[in-house]
């Protein structure tokens, strides 16, 4: 390790995989949707291959160096998924008839079965099909998932294979990685709720496996268990929700359910009360998966997994699943399109959960010193934004204001996109930092007896002033943070602005219950500005806080490329897509990304005007408050506390140099008094949620579990053991009849014959 090696030749095996989709696409009569199965099947095939080959050729040099312990194979599978996705997206955008007409494609019947209905009649031939459902929501998430999975896999090849702790277990990592990816792809593509649920569970399983990747560490094992169990709570509700839905509509197919959500099976009008509970149950499932209050406790612990896993879970896949599910529920409430009215409360609940989580997570992020934990809470907080947005959308759609509803729906999903890109990059960048700090530390203490186990390469208090050492990473992280903060013109600004504005709009339209979430997310905007800036300044600006920093080199191969690509997308992707009208596209208002007949300048001006100078005065005020809070107050406070010049003689590149220098201008401020306050401690303890849950569980679940265990051990096992010992006794006895003496055998046979006669006589008389 150390010097950068050019390892691109290792990518040669990818070529045949990259050719597959273009070859298919160039065939006449080939429709992209016909090959959508490739997206899921490619990783599905690769999963056992990596696992088996890895198991067989573990420790083999070629396997390690040329195939990167399966990383290249994983990348190959994901490249097929990615290229297929791009093909489908392309077909969709140019308005290919196949997709835009139907939007759904069912290939084959999977299972057909009969159902015993509640009135004890049997409905025959219910069919569970296998198919895909394609609309703009699917496509956006599919693109995000495939694209990020591909990049993260690329990143992981560099990150995982150069870390001695992963030695000889990387095939396990990559195998589980592709399985996780396929879970997300499948969930997004599924054309009914059942398949959605199945793939949802695949992800649940893989999150358990990957978070617990370092299973020999107690903390990792516990974190894996926690993630699994917490999301499981949500999953149970999700399942109940699906059952209620099935009860209402007699089907779980999107095509059937969304065709006319107001009419249930047999043409019965759907009662909003029943549907409300179905939606609530589904929402609780989503809350678990997306780590929202009150099922958020697993997410920070999930940082125990390797960093690529964090990126995977937090940006590309798992947490988006919950958002996707809630966004899928829109047709139920959209009274403009046959939705069921009377479900405003559902939207309010979603928005409130979002608002609370956003504020809570942001405040906890204030005091975190672990770079990945900050990002974890930031993820929670940003997801909460999206939930708030979705909640507003649900509200608007149900109250009939479908323009506002579609707008905020699009904005929320756009924020999902921006957040995924930025957060994927931030995690990879943080991984890069951690990796290099770790190596530098190893390098520094090489030869000594590694006694310094207390050193935490993730602790920002060991960093500082790294900007000059890691130009690519620091730049990437700066843009990522800006996007998350919502610095005007960059990435997340375009979407966050929309969410906040529309949430306020709901309040202005007379829904007082929306005031809470509106205030919470507005405050969170400023807090986001603070903690993201704090993280950046603590890591990259100021004086080095440990001797390790001097020895850092940005040298590991495979790591920079994804960062560069994502930096580019984060920096201009938001603006570009906003200009192309992605918000309308994502809310299914339009099927195209285009300028809509305007010239480029007109469209840009239109977007800028829409963002900065909305017609409504109140909204204008909200917008500028947001900008003020997030852009000015938060970062400046962070700069005052943590900013500062680099060490003498060190120079950062021009992208970030200005920021470092700027941060020095605001002077310094000592906040020790605040850091030692009870509030800080409470935040550090994550507002005691974990303790609370543990307390509750200790008082309720554990006694019950102990009772069950006792019952199982003494009653069930007791019965089984009794049966077993009786069988064994009987066996010994019955074998004694076989005395080995032929006379006894004849005697037995004679007795048997007499019994036969007795029976024959007895029965027939």
């Amino acid at each position: 390790m150390g010097e950068t090696k050019n390892e691109y030749r290792l990518l040669l095996p990818l070529l045949p995989f990259l050719v597959i989709v273009p070859y298919l696409a160039l065939q006449t009569d080939s429709h992209s949707t016909d090959f959508a199965w490739l997206i899921v099947v490619a990783p599905f095939i690769m999963f056992p291959i990596i696992l088996i080959i890895g198991q067989v050729f573990n420790k083999n040099e070629t396997w390690k160096n040329t195939w990167k312990e399966g990383g290249i194979l994983g990348l190959a599978a994901l490249s097929v998924s990615l290229s297929t996705t791009i093909w489908i997206v392309y077909d969709y955008l140019i308005g290919h008839a196949d997709i835009t007409n139907s939007g759904v494609d069912s290939w084959l019947e999977w299972i057909s079965f009969d159902v015993l209905q509640s009135d004890y009649t049997i409905a025959q031939n219910r069919i569970l099909g296998v198919g895909v459902w394609i609309d703009s929501l699917t496509l956006m998430l599919l693109f995000v998932a495939t694209f990020l999975c591909f990049l993260i896999c690329w990143f992981a090849i560099g990150y995982m294979t150069t870390d001695p702790i992963n030695e000889d277990s990387n095939h396990r990592f990559f195998a589980e990685f592709v399985l996780f990816s396929l879970g997300m792809f499948g969930m997004v593509l599924a054309d009914n709720f059942l398949w959605l649920f199945i793939f949802w569970e695949v992800m649940g399983l893989c999150s358990y496996l990957l978070i617990g990747f370092y299973y020999w560490k107690d903390s990792a094992a516990a974190a894996a268990k926690k993630a699994f169990l917490t999301t499981r709570v949500g999953d149970v509700f999700l399942m109940i929700g699906l059952l209620i839905l099935y009860d209402i509509y007699g089907s779980l197919d999107f095509a059937v359910v969304f065709d006319d959500p107001s009419t249930g099976i047999g043409g019965v009008a759907v009662e909003s009360g029943e549907l409300f509970w179905a939606l609530m149950m589904l929402f609780i499932g989503a809350v678990g998966k997306s780590a929202q209050f009150p099922l958020h406790v697993w997410l920070p612990d999930a940082m125990e997994g390797p960093t690529p896993v964090s990126a995977l879970i937090h940006a590309a896949t798992m947490v988006n699943a919950g958002l996707y599910l809630v966004a899928r529920l829109m047709p139920f409430v959209d009274i403009h399109h046959n939705g069921v009215s009377g479900l405003e409360d559902f939207g309010l609940i979603v928005a409130w959960i979002g608002g609370i989580t956003a504020f809570m997570a942001a405040s906890i992020a204030f005091v975190q010193n672990d770079i990945k934990k900050v990002l974890a809470y930031s993820t929670m907080s940003q997801l909460a934004y999206i939930f708030t947005g979705l909640g507003s959308a649900l509200y608007f759609l149900n109250t009939g204001d479908h323009h506002a509803g579609y707008f905020v729906l699009g904005a929320s999903l756009f924020h999902l996109f921006n957040h995924a890109m930025a957060k994927g990059m931030l995690f990879m960048a943080s991984g890069s930092v951690i990796h290099e700090v770790h190596h530098a530390h190893d390098h520094l203490h090489h030869g000594s007896d590694h006694s310094d186990h207390d050193f935490d390469p993730q602790d920002m208090r060991n960093m500082g002033g790294i900007a000059s050492k890691m130009p690519v990473t620091s730049t990437a992280m700066m843009f990522g943070s800006m996007s998350i903060i919502g610095i005007p013109l960059i990435g997340g600004f375009w979407s966050k602005e929309g969410i906040i504005a529309e949430t306020w709009l709901a309040y202005f339209h007379g829904e007082t219950m929306m005031l809470g979430p509106a205030i919470l997310i507005l405050a969170t905007a400023g807090m986001t500005g603070f903690y993201m800036s704090r993280m950046w300044f603590m890591t990259f600006a100021g004086q080095p806080k440990s001797d390790v920093v001097d020895h850092i080199h940005e040298a590991t191969p495979w790591i920079k490329e994804p960062l560069l690509i994502l930096t580019f997308i984060t920096a201009i992707g938001g603006f570009a897509l906003a200009t192309l009208g992605i918000i309308d596209f994502l809310s299914n208002e339009s099927h195209h990304l285009s300028l809509h007949g305007h010239s480029l300048q007109e469209q840009i001006l239109h977007e800028l005007e829409h963002a900065f100078l909305p017609e409504d005065n109140k909204l204008r005020m909200v917008g500028w408050t947001t900008i003020l809070l997030s852009f000015v107050i938060g970062p400046i406070m962070a700069a005052r506390i943590h900013g500062g010049k680099l060490k003498e003689g060190q120079k950062a590149n021009i992208f970030v140099g200005w920021l470092v220098n700027l941060s020095d201008k605001f002077g310094t401020q000592d906040v020790t008094w605040l850091a030692e306050s009870q509030l800080a401690e409470a935040l550090d303890k994550r507002l005691y949620f974990d303790d609370l849950y543990e307390g509750i569980i200790a008082r309720t679940v554990i006694p019950f579990a102990e009772l069950s265990a006792w019952f199982d051990k003494n009653i069930i096992d007791g019965i089984i053991k009794q049966i077993e010992s009786n069988s064994v006794l009987g066996s010994v006895q019955i074998r004694k009849v076989t005395t080995g003496n032929a006379r006894d055998y004849i005697l037995m046979a004679t007795v048997g014959a007499l019994c036969i006669f007795a029976l024959l006589v007895g029965v027939n008389n």
């Binding site: 066996s731 055998y745 048997g752 014959a753 029976l759």
Partner: protein, 562 residues
Amino acid sequence: MSYLPLDTAEAELIIPELIMLVGLIAIILIPNFGDATFRIPLSRIKVPILIGGNRFKLTSNPKLPNQVSLLIFSAAFFFGLIQTSYGNVGDTLEVTAFSRIFTLIFTAALILATIATTHRIPARTNLKVPTDNDSETITTKKIDALIDNRRQVDFHIILIMVGLGMSLMSMATHLFMLFVCIELASLSSYILVAFHKETKVGGEAGMKYFIVGSVASAVGIYGMSLLYLWSGDLSLDALSSKWMESETIDPIAGIAVGLMLVAFGFKVGAAPFHLAAPDAYSGASSPVAGLLATASKAMGFVALMRILITVTMPDSGEAFWFSTIAIISIVTMTWGNLAALTSTNPKRILAYSSVAHAGYMLAGLAAIGSGLASEEAMKLVLTAIIFHLVVLVVFKFGAFLVLSLLETEGRSHQLEDLHGLARREPLIAGSMFLFMLSLAGVPPLSGFLSKFLMINGIVNISAGTGASDVSSVMDWLISVEPVFWLAFAIVLNSALSMFYYLRIGLVMFFEEPENTKPMKDAFSLRIAIVLCALLTVIIGIGPLSDSLLQMVNDAVDSFISN
């Protein structure tokens, strides 16, 4: 009137049996071919007469009988398989699809037995005669080897006789013919069991099997003679029509059928007539034990089906033997499984397991006897029974083949001998595990399919017998016909049997072997084992199982139409 006992059309029908008959003569003659000559009296002309003298190199090869007998059985199997024409042969034999499928079962089992025997009683070429200088052990070894060579042909002669007897028996339409054929096969199999007369257990196993078997068949013949007294004609048709005519069951006829049940019950290994079987299996060599567990059992079932279904099954209503057979079946399966539970001798475990399997099949017969079965359901159960007998050849004999392989090392009478087999012989151990799973009836193996068909058939018969308007499960269980409980017993017993089948798997995979060397290179035996394992899978699921089921279906149709 032809002077030949057969005309050509009839001869074509029984080609497999003719092959075995000719083969029997051939295998007696072939090893005796030599260069002997006969001088014509009063002249010096010597005419070679081929029999006797110094044997030719080819005919003196001790491996020859084995190859000849393999050839004979394979040819018989092949011609049995391609046979399409059916009909009467003489007055007492009738070739039907039913008899053909049993010919296939018997010859297939015999082929496997022949292959296994190649390594069980190895024939060695270039043997040396012991000299005065040899130590005692070497002398014994050399003599043993010589004896093995000498008796090669004996074993195969007897095998062919078994095949002939069984095959003819399956096509007999006359009860006495049936019995004579059974005796031909049984008497031969007694010899096979006692074949290893140099071991203590060989003689003892043969003696027990012989004594108990002879008593059983004497009882059976006595029962048959009573039947003759009652009817005056022992052809199945005559018996059947006489049975139909009689309003009530004549006590003599009832006793006669009961006595015959004893004889056939011994053949199939039904409790309490099975007691000698485990002893015989564990004393006999594994190929012979396999033969007893598959072919001999199938033979017993043919006889049972003839007597119980062809002759005494009334057109409607319950057969008089229904509850008897039902109780015997439940006792048999429970006894077999219970006894196998703690047995530590793999051969005994397999013996008890085959007792249990006999119980499952008897349960099928009992379900037919309940008189509730529609024609369809009856066919279903019969199909299940015959299918089970067919697939038993694959996996039960397969398991015995594995034991044969162990026996080439002189082991297989203790569970410890299977320890760590997976480490020594992964393929063999894997196959064995497959056989065990199939015996236990784990999907998708063929053992599952047969058991599933059986349970399905029985439940089908009992379906609709429970009162449909009852409110609770208990009420339904009380109101349902007792037939249902047969299926229930099979399910319970299957659960019980999992224990010892899996235990064999357990010791193979998780115990340390005593030595880790691979076993003898018994090539053809290994091929046979792997083939059996493959068949166990593909007969259980896939197109082959369909076509086999079709064959069995045809057999059942031809059996019913008689």
